[in-house]
């Protein structure tokens, strides 16, 4: 499909960084406020779809290749399963939260019924949120890109 007018292109380029930052915020704070991997990933993918609609699929096709998106998606999913298997490797069961209680990356335990908790809590949950968020961004944007490619009309195929 061809792009839209210059006003639409300008406004969507201005709005795109804000949408992306908001989506990444929702992914990163998934263990404290409503949100998480899928929700934030869907927000960022909506921003990318807005860019696709306003600039046209021909413009995007030169810059984003579908097989790069496929590699990103597989990396996100493999990270998720490896994080789950690491619980097995540390001596306990599958999907065990092995980072809670230690003083490492995300391991602080907040007091019960406290006020605001830090982002430094939650154990292995924020890491899984990042992996799922990456997969959802790449996957949903890939679906929209392939559908835009598949529904080109006959005049543009020449």
């Amino acid at each position: 499909m061809s792009g839209m007018s210059k006003i639409v292109k300008t406004i969507s380029s201005i709005a795109f960084p804000f949408i992306t930052i908001y989506g990444l915020y929702v992914i990163a704070h998934g263990h404290l406020t409503p949100g998480g991997g899928f929700q934030g990933g869907a927000i960022v993918a909506s921003g990318c779809a807005m860019i696709l609609v306003s600039y046209g699929s021909i413009w995007i096709m030169d810059r984003v290749k579908e097989k790069n998106l496929s590699i990103l998606e597989s990396l996100g999913a493999v990270c998720f399963i490896l994080l789950a298997l690491l619980g097995l490797g540390f001596g306990t069961v599958f999907f065990n939260n092995f980072l809670v209680g230690t003083n490492s990356l995300f391991g602080v335990v907040p007091a019960v019924g406290s006020g605001l908790a830090d982002i430094n809590t939650g154990g292995v949950i924020p890491l899984m949120n990042f992996a799922v968020g990456l997969k959802v961004i790449a996957g949903l944007f890939g679906i929209v890109l392939v559908m835009a490619y598949a529904s080109r009309t006959k005049e543009e195929k020449k």
Partner: protein, 114 residues
């Protein structure tokens, strides 16, 4: 009575969705009907977790009081993700069918066996 309105909405959504899947002839309208049924079932899941006068189930700086159940919210989220995947697959298949037959009318596709 006012607390029964969500359940009436659930029944209305499911019935309208079933009507759209069974009686409409356009393929896209069938897909929309399936999305309506899915919205109805998700609404049913969330409504089951509501307690009267409750607040959102978040511990950080909560003002105190009864919290509504968080488990149905997690189930509904999983169901929404599954719905997105099914919708993507169904729309891709509709694009392929349109390419083969040139029409989206359900009575005109599906000719004799070749």
């Amino acid at each position: 009575m006012i607390f029964n309105i969500p359940f009436i909405a659930v029944a209305a959504l499911i019935l309208i969705g079933l009507y759209a899947v069974i009686f409409k002839r356009n393929l896209i309208k069938m897909v929309i009907g399936i999305t309506l049924i899915e919205s109805g079932v998700n609404l049913f899941l969330i409504t089951l977790g509501y307690r009267e006068g409750s607040i959102a189930p978040i511990y950080t700086s909560s003002p105190g009081g009864i919290m509504s159940l968080p488990v149905p919210q997690a189930l509904t989220l999983t169901s929404i993700v599954i719905g997105v995947a099914v919708l993507a697959l169904m729309l891709s298949l509709v694009i392929h069918i349109y390419r083969h037959y040139g029409t989206l009318d359900v009575r005109k596709i599906g000719g004799p066996e070749e």
